[in-house]
C-alpha cells in the first residue's frame, strides 16, 4: 500500500501569512509544493489584531514575496501609534511613534479574510507551476510516520501524502506541532487571548473623527484600570471602512479572575475615551477571538523534528511585549527561512538537514532574539517575582514615586519607546496595570466623554452573526466537573456564566440526593480559539475541512 501514497516534495499546512510565505519561497526555488488549508477559503479561520509590519532588518517581508500586497490585500498604512494610559476618568496619552517606526519599513492595517485569500490566490498560481498547488477544505489531522520517522501527513479528506519537507504553518492550535510533541496546552501563562470586533464606519467618517487625511491611518492602544485587575490591554486600528477594536489579555490572569472576555471588550467599547470616535454609533460586523502564544515563553528554540518545520504561531513565533505586538511579520520571515533552509539543505545533498539549518537561520537573522529576548530571560526571574512587584508598586504609589514620574514624564514616554527596555518588560500586574494607572493619575487629563453611549451586541447576537456548520463535535470534555473545567465557561469568548447559548455552560445536577456542579459542552457555537484546551480538561482538535466557524473579515 505504501507505494500508492501520493508524494510531493514539500507540503505546507495552513495558508496564513507563514504558510503563504513558505510556499511562495519554495515555489520560487522550483520545489513542488502542495499547500493544504482547512478553511472554506484561506483566511476564513484566521484572526489577528490587524497590524502587519515589514521590518527593515527582516530577510523576508510580505511585499518582497508578494509585490502588490500593500495595494491589493491590505487596508491602509498605519502611521500614528499612540498609547492611552487610563485611570478612572483621567488619561495620559503617549506617542509611541519611535517604537512604531523602529526598524519599520512600513506597517499596514489588515483584515485577514481579504488578506489571506488574496495571498492564497498568488500562492496557488506560484505552486501550481511546480506541479503542486493550494487546496482548501482539507484538514491535516496528523503526521504520517514510517519506522518512527515523520514521512508525511494524514488528512480527514484525502489519503495520506508523503513529502520530503513538511511545513507546519497550521496556527496557534497546530495539530502537527502537538503530534510531534513540540507544543502543549499545559500552561495558561504561556498564552494570551485576543478578542476583536470589526466595526463598520464610513471612510470619510473615520478620517474626520480620527483627524486623518486619506491614506495613513492610526493605531490606539489602551492600558490601565479600564479592565479592572485583568492583565492586558486594548487596541483600535483604522481600516478603510471599518475599525478593528479589541482586547488582549494574559490567559492566566483571565482565568484566575474568572473574567468574561466579551465583557472586557465591552468595557473598552463603552469607555468614555472611545466616545470621541464612536459618537453613539456602533455597527459591529464581526466578533472574533484568538489564542496568542507568548513567544517569550513558548517560541520553540528548536522548532523542527525530522522533516517537520514549524512556522509562525505553530512555532509560538508571536512577539507581544508591552505595546509591541508582532506576529505576522515573524511568520513571514520564518516561512521564508524555512524554504531557504530546505533549498540550502538540498543543495548540500542532504534535505534532512533542513530543520537544523532553519534553526540556525532563525538565530543568525535575529528572529529568535526578537521572539525570546535574552534580556527578558535574564531579568524575568527577578522582575516577575512578588517581592519586586511589591516594592515597585509601593514606590510607584509613594509621593517620591509620583514626584519622580512628574519630573520624568518625558522619560516615561521615551521608556515606552525603547525596544531595549521593552525587551525586559515583565508580565506582572505592575507593568500592565499599575504603571499605566499611576501615569494617568499623576500626569493625566480628565476625559471629556460620558461613556456608555453605545450598546455593544449581546453575546447571542455576536455568535449568531458568525457562520457555523461544525459537523461532528471536535472537542471532548474529559473531566466535566466544575472544579476541573469550570474556567472554560468564563474564559471561552463565546460562553458566559448564566448564558445558555454558548459553547460551554455550567449546571447543577441532582443525582441520588447529591448536587453536582458540572460543565457541559455544545461545540456548535465554537470559534476554534483553543482557550478551553488550555484552561479546561479537554480533548481538542480542529473540525474537518470546510466545517466550523467562518470569518468573513478576520
Amino acid at each position: 500500500m505504501t507505494d500508492e501514497y501520493e508524494h510531493y516534495e514539500a507540503i505546507v499546512v495552513g495558508a496564513g501569512p507563514g504558510g503563504a510565505a513558505a510556499a511562495a519561497a519554495l515555489a520560487r526555488q522550483g520545489v513542488e509544493t502542495l499547500v493544504l488549508e482547512r478553511g472554506v477559503d484561506a483566511g476564513s479561520k484566521n484572526v489577528s489584531g490587524g497590524l502587519i509590519y515589514a521590518e527593515e532588518s527582516a530577510p523576508y517581508t510580505i511585499d518582497d514575496l508578494f509585490p502588490a500586497f500593500r495595494e491589493e490585500a491590505a487596508e491602509r498604512p498605519i502611521d500614528e501609534y499612540l498609547i492611552h494610559n487610563i485611570a478612572g476618568d483621567k488619561v495620559k496619552t503617549f506617542d509611541l511613534d519611535r517604537i512604531h517606526h523602529h526598524d519599520t519599513d512600513w506597517c499596514d492595517a489588515v483584515l485577514r479574510r481579504r488578506m489571506d485569500s488574496w495571498l492564497a490566490e498568488r500562492v496557488h498560481e506560484l505552486t501550481r507551476e511546480t506541479g503542486g498547488g493550494l487546496l482548501t477544505e482539507v484538514r491535516v489531522n496528523g503526521l504520517l510516520r514510517e519506522d518512527g520517522e515523520i514521512v508525511g501527513v494524514t488528512c480527514d479528506e484525502l489519503d495520506p501524502i508523503k513529502a520530503d519537507l513538511i511545513v507546519a504553518a497550521d496556527g496557534v492550535n497546530s495539530e502537527l506541532a502537538r503530534d510531534a510533541g513540540l507544543m502543549n496546552w499545559d500552561e495558561p501563562e504561556d498564552w494570551f487571548q485576543g478578542v476583536k470586533a470589526v466595526v463598520e464606519m464610513e471612510p470619510e467618517v473615520i478620517d474626520e473623527r480620527f483627524g486623518l487625511d486619506g491614506e495613513p491611518g492610526a493605531a490606539h492602544l489602551f492600558s490601565g484600570d479600564l479592565f479592572e485587575t485583568v492583565r492586558g490591554g486594548g487596541f483600535l486600528y483604522t481600516n478603510t471602512d471599518s475599525l478593528s477594536i479589541g482586547t488582549v489579555f494574559h490567559l492566566d490572569s483571565l482565568a484566575a479572575e474568572r473574567a468574561e472576555p466579551h465583557e472586557l471588550l465591552n468595557a473598552l467599547l463603552t469607555h468614555p475615551l472611545l466616545d470621541q470616535w464612536l459618537q453613539g454609533e456602533y455597527e459591529e460586523r464581526e466578533y472574533a477571538a484568538k489564542l496568542v502564544p507568548d513567544s517569550k515563553k513558548v517560541a520553540h528554540p528548536s522548532p523542527h523534528q525530522g522533516r517537520l518545520l514549524l512556522v509562525g504561531d505553530a512555532g509560538g513565533q508571536m512577539q507581544a511585549q508591552g505595546p509591541i505586538i508582532k506576529g505576522m511579520n515573524h511568520a513571514v520571515t520564518a516561512g521564508g527561512l524555512a524554504a531557504e533552509a530546505y533549498a540550502d539543505a538540498k543543495t548540500r545533498g542532504d534535505p534532512a538537514k533542513a530543520g537544523e539549518l532553519y534553526e540556525r537561520k532563525l538565530n543568525s537573522e535575529g528572529v529568535m532574539d526578537q521572539l525570546r529576548p535574552s534580556r527578558y530571560r535574564a531579568t524575568r526571574a527577578i522582575s516577575e517575582s512578588g517581592v519586586v512587584t511589591g516594592v515597585g508598586s509601593t514606590l510607584l504609589n509613594s509621593p517620591v514615586g509620583s514626584a519622580g514620574l512628574k519630573a520624568l514624564g518625558g522619560v516615561a514616554e521615551r521608556a515606552f519607546n525603547s525596544p531595549f527596555l521593552l525587551g525586559m518588560v515583565p508580565d506582572s500586574r505592575m507593568s500592565y496595570v499599575e504603571i499605566p494607572i499611576r501615569i494617568a493619575e499623576v500626569l493625566g487629563e480628565p476625559i471629556e466623554g460620558e461613556g456608555g453611549t453605545i450598546e455593544p451586541p449581546k453575546l447571542a447576537d455576536r455568535i449568531g452573526d458568525l457562520t457555523y456548520d461544525v459537523g461532528d463535535p471536535h472537542i471532548e470534555l474529559i473531566d466535566d466537573s466544575y472544579a476541573a473545567s469550570g474556567t472554560a465557561v468564563t474564559a471561552c469568548p463565546v460562553s458566559a456564566e448564566g448564558f445558555g447559548g454558548g459553547c460551554y455552560r455550567d449546571e447543577r445536577v441532582k443525582t441520588n440526593g447529591e448536587e453536582k456542579h458540572l460543565v457541559s459542552l455544545d461545540t456548535q457555537p465554537c470559534i476554534e480559539c483553543g482557550t478551553c484546551a488550555v484552561v479546561a480538561d479537554t480533548h481538542w482538535e480542529h473540525p474537518s475541512g470546510g466545517k466550523g466557524v467562518e470569518y468573513k473579515r478576520g
Partner: protein
C-alpha cells in the same frame, strides 16, 4: 476516456422561481428553464472520470434553441469540453421514444464514439426515467454504434482504463437498502442515482478538479465557440420518426392532486409582536421539559 452526458432543460421548480396559475398549472412562460438537477449529478460523474483519467466530457441535449443556455449552465457550473444541441421544429413535442431515437442518432453522428455515456436518473418535469434506458435501446438497433451494457442507479464509479473495465456500485432500494457492486466492460451506458457524490481522495485529483473548474468557467463565457447545433437534416433523420409524429405516446391530461386539508389549526404570529410571542412562549412552556 471520453464521456458523453445527456441532459434536458426543465422548469426551475425552486421556490421563488416557479410560477403557477390559479388552477395550479405551471406557467411555462413565467418560469425560467434550467438544467435538470439530476443531470448535474451525471455531469459530476463525468467530471470525476475526466479528473482521474483525462479525456473529454461532452454534453448533449435535444430541445429548442433556448436550451443553449441549459448547456451553458452545465458547462459553467460543473464542466464540459463540448456542447451539442439537437434542435429543430421537426423534433418538437417528442415523447421519450422519439427523443431517444433523435439522441441516439446524435451520438452516432459524433466524430468519436464515447467510452461512457451518462444520464441522470429522471427529469424534474416528465419524471418517466425512460429516456436514458430507451436511448440505450435505440443504441442496440443502430448498426453504427457499439453494444453497451446498461447500469442504472449508480452511486459510485471506478474505471480501470488499462483493463477497459468499469466497476460500479448500485443502490438497490427495498425494505433494506443494499449496495450491489457490478463490473462490466467499456464502452458502457450508466444512469446515475441522485445519491451519487464524486469522490476525490488524492491531492492531485483535487488540484486538477480546481484547474478544470476554472477552465470550464472561462469556456462558458464564450460557450458558442464550443457548441455544435444539429437539425434533422444534419442527422439525416426522417421527420416521420421524430418529434410529435414519431411519438407513440401522448400525455392525454394532467390532473393536479389536491392537497389534503390541514388537520391542525394555525395562528400566524409576527415575531415583532411581543405580546403574541409571549403567549406562544406561555403555550410552549409546559412542554419545555421534553415531555
Amino acid at each position: 476516456m471520453n464521456t458523453l452526458v445527456l441532459t434536458k432543460g426543465v422548469p426551475d421548480f425552486r421556490e421563488g422561481k416557479v410560477s403557477f396559475d390559479e388552477d395550479g398549472h405551471l406557467e411555462r412562460g413565467k418560469t425560467p428553464t434550467v438544467m435538470n438537477p439530476n443531470d448535474k449529478v451525471a455531469l459530476q460523474a463525468a467530471l470525476q472520470e475526466k479528473v482521474r483519467h483525462g479525456g473529454t466530457v461532452s454534453l448533449m441535449s435535444m430541445g429548442p434553441p433556448g436550451y443553449k443556455e441549459v448547456l451553458r449552465e452545465g458547462m459553467r457550473e460543473v464542466y464540459a469540453d463540448d456542447l451539442y444541441l439537437l434542435s429543430d421544429r421537426e423534433m418538437a413535442a417528442a415523447d421519450t421514444w422519439a427523443t431517444a431515437m433523435t439522441v441516439t442518432t446524435g451520438i452516432a453522428t459524433l466524430e468519436e464514439s464515447p467510452d461512457l455515456i451518462v444520464a441522470g436518473f429522471k427529469t424534474a418535469d416528465g419524471e418517466t426515467g425512460h429516456t436514458g434506458p430507451q436511448t440505450m435501446w435505440c443504441h442496440h438497433m443502430n448498426d453504427r454504434l457499439p453494444d453497451r451494457p446498461l447500469l442504472t442507479h449508480v452511486v459510485a464509479l471506478d474505471i480501470d482504463m488499462e483493463e477497459g473495465r468499469l466497476r460500479a456500485k448500485r443502490l438497490v432500494s427495498g425494505d433494506v437498502d443494499e449496495i450491489e457492486t457490478v463490473e462490466t466492460d467499456l464502452p458502457a451506458f450508466v444512469v446515475m442515482d441522485p445519491e451519487f457524490e464524486p469522490s476525490y481522495r488524492k491531492a492531485d485529483h483535487r488540484l486538477r478538479y480546481k484547474d478544470l473548474r476554472e477552465e470550464t468557467k472561462a469556456r462558458a463565457e464564450a460557450f458558442e465557440d464550443h457548441l455544435t447545433m444539429w437539425n434533422h437534416e444534419d442527422l439525416n433523420l426522417d421527420p416521420d420518426f421524430i418529434g410529435l409524429d414519431g411519438s407513440p405516446t401522448i400525455v392525454a391530461g394532467v390532473d393536479p392532486i389536491p392537497k389534503g386539508p390541514a388537520e391542525r389549526e394555525a395562528t400566524p404570529v409576527s415575531p415583532d409582536d411581543d405580546e403574541a410571542m409571549n403567549e406562544v412562549l406561555g403555550e410552549l412552556t409546559p412542554f419545555a421539559g421534553g415531555d
